[in-house]
């Protein structure tokens, strides 16, 4: 075998090793532990299905998954809507490339702080005696503070949209920038109006970006636990939060089983997205 035939394997080796050590091995461990048994003190090697049984047969799991899906769908829809229009504006309405980059960087400014800080800063704003309520009451719009603003599903969705919209903007902006402007002109010359251009030319061409953004948002929301905990004031559950509670009580096998189920579901979701859209076009 010549060196030239070996070279690609050698080039791939470092990444393979890193992925094997830090991705494949931990996941294999999680899968293994998910079949172990446990009591309140320790876990024992075993091969039991009780962890899966208890997880799958419990209505709590189903309710929690439904709740997590609810967040995922709402957050996905809102971030897609907001993200697409931000990207559209940046790509088609801002003429100079410099200005585009400046405005794009402006979008990333919130990300200069940690996401915990961004999330927690909503609390004094939305609270019963928070800025928003006080302002509205001062203006005479409402007589009583709006309680649904904080520690509610509304607050969770708001914080997630705030945290994750940029993950939608970036890939969509990227695909929109690659669209050949001649195509838009051709469509116009052929008599298409603005709406037709959007639905027949731009959106189909933006699909890979939309898919990539969707994968980011869906996986982030499905795995989130800290946003749900802080913004719902501990009143709502998510799959991640359920696992965090189990880990806190040393119920590692149960948490591992949960993690495996979540992993499978998220992979299915991602697989579904990839079936619909060929993101290779993007690459």
């Amino acid at each position: 075998m010549t060196l030239s035939r070996l070279a690609p394997y050698l080039q791939a080796t470092p990444l393979t090793l890193i992925l094997a050590a830090f991705l494949v091995l931990p996941i294999a461990t999680i899968v293994m532990v998910s079949f172990w048994d446990y009591d309140s003190i320790q876990i024992f090697p075993a091969f039991v299905f009780t962890n899966y049984e208890e997880t799958i047969t419990s209505p709590v799991t189903w309710n929690t998954y439904i709740n997590t899906f609810k967040y995922t769908v709402i957050v996905w829809a809102v971030t897609l809507f907001v993200g697409f229009w931000v990207a559209y504006y940046l790509a088609f309405h801002i003429r100079s490339t410099t200005m585009q980059m400046v405005l794009f960087l402006v979008c990333t400014i919130p990300f200069l702080t940690s996401n915990i800080i961004r999330m927690i800063s909503w609390i004094p704003f939305l609270g019963r005696n928070g800025l928003l309520n006080q302002t509205l009451m001062g203006m005479g719009v409402i007589n009583q503070p709006l309680e649904f603003l904080l520690f509610s599903d509304f607050a969770v969705v708001l914080a997630m949209v705030h945290l994750y919209t940029l993950f939608m903007v970036t890939p969509i902006f990227n695909t929109l920038m690659r669209i050949d402007r001649a195509l838009v002109e051709a469509a116009r010359d052929a008599g298409a109006n603005g709406w037709q251009i959007l639905t027949n030319v731009i959106i189909p061409l933006a699909k890979p970006g939309i898919a990539i953004g969707s994968i980011f948002v869906v996986t982030l929301v499905m795995g989130d636990f800290i946003t749900v905990r802080f913004m719902s004031g501990g009143q709502s559950a998510s799959v991640g939060l359920m696992m965090a509670n189990q880990i806190a009580l040393l119920q590692y096998p149960a948490a591992a089983a949960n993690a495996v189920i979540l992993l499978i579901i998220v992979l299915l979701l991602v697989g579904g997205i990839l079936r619909i859209v060929n993101i290779r076009k993007e690459l």
């Binding site: 009591d39 309140s40 003190i41 320790q42 208890e54 419990s58 209505p59 709590v60 309710n63 929690t64 709740n67 609390i123 004094p124 609270g127 019963r128 005696n129 928070g130 309680e147 904080l150 520690f151 905990r229 719902s232 004031g233 501990g234 009143q235 709502s236 559950a237 939060l241 359920m242 509670n245 189990q246 880990i247 806190a248 009580l249 040393l250 119920q251």
Partner: protein, 428 residues
């Protein structure tokens, strides 16, 4: 959220180390004797971790000055503490854990029992931790009472003994009686019972804590007070009792009685200080923190009594030789008064009261321990004014508060089932 405090060795220590090494060289292979303490030739570092309450920098500094032992402290939440004791046994030397955690982790065999003969102040320890009775007449409270997990049967044993033996699992250090915190300016009526948290007037303005093993106890106190449930032992419920309690919690949650569930100290402070809630489960330093912002907050004594907790120091299994001796010396020092006074001044209680009293002024002692009005301003250990002249401690004296304990923080036999149901409550 891990805070690490490391005190670096001082030059005096290095000097001694150097001197000791030189001494060793001079003596050659001969027998080296006559060192003042073993710490001089071999500087000792003890790695201690535990919940934030007693992992205090001031204690590490004073320990360094008095004993020459360097304490490396790590503060974690109680869940992380139990995990670490079980899963990372070699990562610590001293575990500062609560008694209910002890019940959970001691059988894992990563801690070693301590010989009470080496504990200088053993006979002076508050009897809550040995016989379980504050006074000979008092009843042992429900839950994981410290005396039930305070001893094991022998030096190698993992089985908790029913009565005091020579082998102690934890040396008690710090404990307190918990109750509900209220905003007296916002509740608008006297609060007397645990059930008052269910008052429709406080709809959407209450909170309980979301640490299952502690939250379920507060919930049980509330249910029992409201006459919804009767318990054989609130600290060790049957499945039916757990079901009844959780079902009631879910109903109450759906009716919108709770504003939030908190998990960390600062969350509870913020909920109260911002007026999001007016009555909730609380820990005493959180009440002090709300007050220090100039916002009125009372740690309300209630008729049904308190939910108590206690912690202690345990020694890791792997300690031996000089390190083990140092650990005993540290523990004996811990109980010799300075630390006790420090903890008492924070509103907690220390395990050996007689030595702590000698380190406090008579006025401080009267205020904190006897429940008498302050004759002068009461200062925190850092020197900030906590109470002004004439103030009285919420709940009164040590005997009144610790004598009215209804239940200790605990871990139940049906722990696994309880957690599942608790998750259901949070998900509901």
């Amino acid at each position: 959220m891990t805070k690490k405090t490391t005190s670096k060795g001082v030059s005096r220590r290095q000097l001694l180390k150097g001197a000791a090494a030189a001494g060793g060289l001079a003596a050659g292979a001969g027998v080296v004797t006559g060192f003042p303490t073993i710490w001089a030739q071999n500087p000792i570092t003890l790695r201690q971790f535990g919940t934030g309450v007693s992992n205090l920098n001031a204690i590490a500094e004073k320990c360094k000055a008095d004993l020459g032992i360097t304490l490396q402290m790590t503060a974690l939440d109680s869940d992380a503490v139990s995990q670490r004791v079980v899963t990372q046994a070699s990562s610590f030397d001293i575990a500062d854990i609560e008694y209910w955690i002890c019940k959970k982790v001691f059988p894992a065999g990563t801690l070693q029992p301590m010989d009470v003969k080496k504990i200088k102040y053993y006979d002076d320890i508050v009897p809550i931790f040995t016989t379980g009775k504050l006074t000979p007449e008092s009843k042992i409270a429900q839950g994981t009472a410290p005396n039930t997990v305070g001893f094991v049967e022998g030096p190698e044993s993992k089985v908790f003994a029913k009565a005091p033996t020579q082998w102690m699992t934890l040396i008690p250090t710090i404990y307190n009686a918990d109750t509900l915190g209220i905003r007296p300016d916002l509740v608008g009526r006297p609060i007397k019972n645990w059930k008052d948290i269910l008052d429709p007037a406080f709809k959407g303005k209450t909170s309980i804590l979301n640490i299952p093993s502690i939250g379920i106890m507060d919930a049980a106190m509330i249910c029992e007070s409201a006459g919804i449930m009767k318990y054989g032992d609130k600290g060790n419920m049957t499945k039916a009792e757990i079901d009844g309690t959780i079902d009631f919690l879910i109903k109450t949650k759906k009716a919108g009685q709770f504003r939030a569930f908190w998990k960390t100290f600062d969350e509870s402070v913020n909920l109260m200080a911002s007026g999001e809630v007016v009555i909730q489960s609380m820990w005493s330093p959180a009440v002090a923190a709300v007050r220090s912002k100039g916002i009125p907050c009372v740690y309300q004594p209630l008729e049904e009594g308190y939910r108590a907790w206690g912690g202690g120091l345990g020694i890791a299994k792997h300690l031996k030789g000089a390190q083990l001796d140092a650990a005993y010396e540290y523990i004996n020092w811990y109980m010799s008064g300075w630390v006790g006074a420090y903890l008492n001044r924070q509103g907690y209680y220390s395990a050996v009261l007689s030595t702590a009293e000698k380190n406090m002024t008579p006025d401080e002692w009267a205020f904190w321990m006897l429940g008498q009005p302050a004759k002068a301003d009461i200062l925190s250990p850092e020197g900030k004014v906590m109470y002004t002249v004439g103030a009285v401690r919420d709940g009164g004296s040590f005997k009144e508060r610790m004598g009215a304990v209804a239940c200790w923080n605990s871990v139940m036999d049906e722990d696994r089932y309880m957690v599942r149901r608790w998750n259901e409550f949070i998900a509901a």
